[in-house]
Symmetry: C3
Amino acid sequence: VVPVITLTTDFGLRDAYVAEMKGVILDILGESGHLVQLVDITHDVQAHDITEGALALEAAALFFPRSTLHLAVVDPGVGTRRRALVLRAAGHVFVGPDNGIFTPFLGGDWAAFELRAAEYRRPVVSQTFHGRDVFAPAAAHLIRGVVPEKFGPPIVDPVRLAWPEARVSAGSIAGAVIHVDRFGNLITSIRLELLGSLDSDVMAWISGKALPVVGTYGELPRGAPGALLGSGNRLEIAVREGSAAGLFRARRGTRVVVSRSSSKNSSRKRRQPGPRT
Amino acid sequence: VVPVITLTTDFGLRDAYVAEMKGVILDILGESGHLVQLVDITHDVQAHDITEGALALEAAALFFPRSTLHLAVVDPGVGTRRRALVLRAAGHVFVGPDNGIFTPFLGGDWAAFELRAAEYRRPVVSQTFHGRDVFAPAAAHLIRGVVPEKFGPPIVDPVRLAWPEARVSAGSIAGAVIHVDRFGNLITSIRLELLGSLDSDVMAWISGKALPVVGTYGELPRGAPGALLGSGNRLEIAVREGSAAGLFRARRGTRVVVSRSSSKNSSRKRRQPGPRT
Amino acid sequence: VVPVITLTTDFGLRDAYVAEMKGVILDILGESGHLVQLVDITHDVQAHDITEGALALEAAALFFPRSTLHLAVVDPGVGTRRRALVLRAAGHVFVGPDNGIFTPFLGGDWAAFELRAAEYRRPVVSQTFHGRDVFAPAAAHLIRGVVPEKFGPPIVDPVRLAWPEARVSAGSIAGAVIHVDRFGNLITSIRLELLGSLDSDVMAWISGKALPVVGTYGELPRGAPGALLGSGNRLEIAVREGSAAGLFRARRGTRVVVSRSSSKNSSRKRRQPGPRT
């Protein structure tokens, strides 16, 4: 089996930073004749936006084979006293700064260790680019078979982000947009588990507008908005072959509410027009 | 030989969608110990623009080794009744929606099969992301050796796009811009076969301007426009070290005409100033 | 050991050009059963900007394993009489146009050969895309074991760029911004060697403003500017979690000066306010 390393950063693809990391990894692995599959998750995380990095990881990481190593570097605290860590969770391995970027994987069993051992870093560690000098070498040494325990002492209190969630109250679920994708689809904090089985008595509200909840884009007329269960098992607001972000001038944080109307009486709906942003 | 999978989508590189597809592929191949070379053709196809996806594939696919598997997902019809297919053509294999994206490869011999067999999909298929749940698994299983016939019934009438072509009439060829590249070069629907052997008696017309036809950028003065045979064997309008798209405010669909003047009498040319847009 | 090929171009990732190059490489290597690791350094070099390509290579190339082959195609002179070359330098191999893009690697021992042998090109060479038709095949044949000497006659006078440097005069070093990265950090032509050991008596000047020189971003208040030694061993102007390029309206070429004040007398500093742009 060829080991897989994924990379998630806010470095962009215009600069050579990501390539420097890959060069360091291949240089360390080359010595031991290891082959590796390098896969980019994204490098276009908004600069310094740890939550966006965590959301990209949450979306993609667990589709990779067990034991995949996920290297994630959104690291506004580089050069400060923030810790560096390796985390074993969900059958995968994660390497990056201890700033909350791995929050989505701290729900079940996990074990974390600080990246401290000098022999698994580059000989000279810059103050500004631990992606290349600390995290990439750690990833390569882990692939070579060095166990996480060898890197440093256990971390029992990794930083956790305040994770975007949704609130359930009588008859409605209040959440928010957590990501706007390339198509202008609005991915929300409202998860499948909360929604239970969606039915036609449910409406989604955004920016004061009520939208039907549908099963797929194809049920919407072209250019019309609706809500549906997205591929990451979250409620999504979409416009068929159009941009919901544009239509509703929505961004991360925009409020989204799902309300279940227990009655079929539509006049009652009119008197209770639902939440507005 | 290491099998090659190329990927062409309109998903962009900011979201994690492409990585989700790659994760699924590697996960399925990992079980069987298969190694694979993953190569991106482009993920910046304009959202929902099937023709642009088809043009990217046409430009790049056949440079890859025989038997390369080309996974292409520009899929505005996801979740509707559009079919999914695997296509054998030109010694390569293509996997994607049956919406015309493989039109360029339907000119010679081909065979196509519908992707229907549940055992070659992900256990749960989302309504919005068949790239990950249907096409990526199909690609991985094909690399593992499952033959196309196993996926479902033959498709004898795959969707074909109205393909951008050029019209030849007495003394001229009328075509259009089909792609504007990063440099602002205008790639047209006028192919080498139509042009025959270009000679100096040919002029290209765009936006009411006549341009010389040259052999290479180097024959143009810096900043000057001209027409030449591009690397994809299509007539191209270029500005040396500049942008033809900018100079002519051209976009896909902008009309381009090549006229052969059968006479050396340049005054005659003046009286027949050629077509205007 | 799996051979590594890096790619650096100004082709962007929207068009299929980079994929065409990779297809050609894999096609030639496939015949001989060779496995290869393909790594993008960047494809977002400003169109035709040879210096920017050279700076990207300088930043990343030598982090890769020895013997890595670096394919670099920023080639405004394609189709003119500019030479094509393979260069052995610094234990690595470089392939691209002879237009100065490899200037950073011509400081020590090196040997260069012209890419002329027809058998190591594609059968038909376009006038506009030597990346695909000349350089990619050369890279593949080099990986297959063809020695550089086989490609053509030695080149003893490769083109060298006027390289952005810094000038040292009494008490100060005058340089310029050479690159603006994604974060808005300003990388300058002032190298570590010139700076010697930075101490707190040093100030950096840009756009008429004096900035403290710090060890790491973390020493700056959020949103405050400072100068520090960047990861490429060059002086860098940064704003903590902000954009120095935005704050100072700086771009490549903007003047940056470091002055050492030999006295602790701060009133003297006030009377000599340092250089302005």
